[in-house]
């Protein structure tokens, strides 16, 4: 068996391990699936009536931010688990074993993509039940899936970096708060045109707004090429920057 084959088998084994961590943690399921679900229901049924989103129904408006919220919460758990591994000796154990380094981090990333991706799919299902009606073209679906996959990967990379940089597991989650905060100052819950000017200029230029606009456009049948490219550029930027930060933080940890 070749070394490459071993590395992929190890990636699968380590991804399976972290999936067990996800599935066995009520806390994770509540935060990654339960919380976005509540937000979805609350915004659609309680606050939705008071929201003016023009010709777009509020449920159709709000679903993208709920999906991104779910991915962000999931990535916070990646940060938590990466930190646990780094502090409780599991990652040291793995690093004395003949396992490719990329597969060790890859296990965390892979589990994040699979588990959070499944949560996104489940949320989409509930949204459809409560009246969400996407009218995406096939191109719209391709764009949606590409954006969600890129978001799952990019935010997991942020989680890995935060997990390695933080001293404690609580600190690791706290490092993820800014990412969550960005969601609430974006075009996710209300059009940015309804915000005061300083807030609005911030909201229009931070990564979450183009991401949400791009998903929403693709879902509602008018792919917004501009927003899609800007969103993808941000996400690729996240992956590059946070992978570098993760490498540096990992090195610092072992110095």
């Amino acid at each position: 068996m070749s070394a490459q084959w071993h590395a992929f088998a190890d990636l699968a084994t380590l991804t399976g391990r972290m999936l067990k961590h996800n599935i066995r943690s009520v806390d994770t399921i509540m935060t990654v699936l339960g919380m976005p679900l509540m937000i979805l229901l609350a915004f659609v049924f309680v606050l939705g009536g008071a929201m003016d989103t023009g010709p777009v129904r509020y449920v159709d408006f709000v679903v993208p931010v709920v999906l991104v919220f779910c991915i962000t919460n999931g990535a916070a758990y990646t940060a938590f688990r990466v930190n646990r591994d780094a502090t409780d000796g599991m990652s040291a154990r793995f690093r004395t074993m003949p396992i490719a380094r990329w597969a060790i981090t890859g296990g965390h990333m892979g589990a994040a993509v699979v588990a959070n991706g499944a949560s996104v799919a489940a949320l989409m299902g509930v949204a459809l039940l409560i009246g969400y009606r996407p009218h995406a073209t096939w191109m719209g679906w391709v764009v949606t899936v590409a954006l969600l996959m890129a978001t799952l990967t990019a935010f997991a990379a942020v989680g890995v970096a935060c997990g390695l940089a933080a001293k404690t597991d609580e600190g690791a989650i706290m490092f993820m708060y800014p990412l969550m905060g960005l969601l609430f100052v974006s075009s996710g819950f209300a059009p940015t045109s309804t915000m005061p000017v300083p807030l609005r200029s911030f909201a229009d230029h931070q990564p979450m707004t183009p991401l949400i606009n791009a998903i929403r456009g693709a879902q509602l049948g008018h792919v917004d090429a501009g927003a899609t490219w800007v969103a993808l550029a941000w996400l690729v930027g996240f992956i590059v920057v946070f992978s570098a930060l993760a490498t540096a933080a990992g090195r610092h940890r072992r110095a």
């Binding site: 071993h6 380590l14 067990k20 599991m90 154990r93 690093r95 004395t96 074993m97 003949p98």
Partner: protein, 247 residues
């Protein structure tokens, strides 16, 4: 590994953490098939030495070879040859004991990982708790699981950093039996311990670490002689590590 290549060969090894020089020219040679006890007071650098030899830490100077391989140049091949039980228990608290063992067996690519795991669970007296999460284990049970995990794959050189600390007499006996069994199969074992009777019981040779160097190396009698003819190992240890007056 040919029999004439030492399992571990350390020359002038140096390591500092900031200003603190922990290793200042450590020399150590362990022939293949030997059981060596690495002794030293708290903070002497035993764990640091084990970490360098198992590719977790980079040395600042000197050379270290394990199974004939330079740890700095060929870390990936060194990892094929070694296994480590660290000073702190490293088990996955969310997985069951059986799952922990299966995980490591899969990562070591042994045939029939589940059977290997089931066998170890029996051998280490964890059968009743095998399907419980390791996070619910007592300290000693975690330690046994930890050691069992490190035995999978049967590598040539085994590092055990204070493997019996915190174990009850039965657990300690279990570890001793495992060490003897590995030694009988020709494995090289480097273990650290604070129990002199354990060192004497398990190890053919010992090395006493003090002030960043090995102040004495050799068989039991040689250590006693190096300490100026000490009556027993404990006296020798205290003398060699400059703690005699505190006795």
């Amino acid at each position: 590994m040919a029999d004439d290549v030492p399992a571990v060969q350390v020359t002038a090894l140096r390591k500092a953490f900031g200003r603190q020089e922990v290793l200042r020219g450590l020399d150590l040679e362990v022939p293949a098939g030997e059981v060596l006890a690495l002794l030293g007071a708290n903070g002497a650098g035993k764990t640091t030495t084990v970490s360098i030899l198992t590719t977790l830490l980079k040395a600042d100077g000197g050379t270290a070879r394990v199974a004939g391989l330079d740890v700095a140049r060929e870390p990936a091949r060194v990892r094929q040859a070694v296994t480590v039980t660290g000073q702190n228990v490293a088990v996955d608290a969310v997985l069951t004991g059986l799952e922990n063992l299966t995980l490591i067996a899969r990562l070591r690519h042994v045939p029939a990982p589940k059977q290997v795991a089931a066998g170890l669970v029996e051998r280490f007296g964890l059968a009743d708790a095998a399907c419980r999460r390791a996070g619910t284990y007592s300290g000693g049970m975690k330690r046994r699981l930890d050691i069992a995990m490190s035995l999978i794959g049967d590598p040539q050189v085994v590092f055990l950093d204070e493997p019996t600390t915190g174990l009850d007499p039965g657990g300690r006996r279990e570890v001793w039996v495992a060490v003897d069994a590995m030694a009988a199969r020709g494995r090289t074992i480097i273990l650290t311990t604070q129990y002199m009777e354990e060192a004497a019981r398990l190890a053919g040779t010992m090395a006493v670490l003090h002030d960043g160097v090995a102040v004495a190396t050799g068989r039991h009698e040689e250590i006693l002689r190096a300490a100026g003819g000490a009556a027993d190992l404990e006296t020798a240890f205290l003398r060699l590590t400059g703690q005699e007056e505190t006795r």
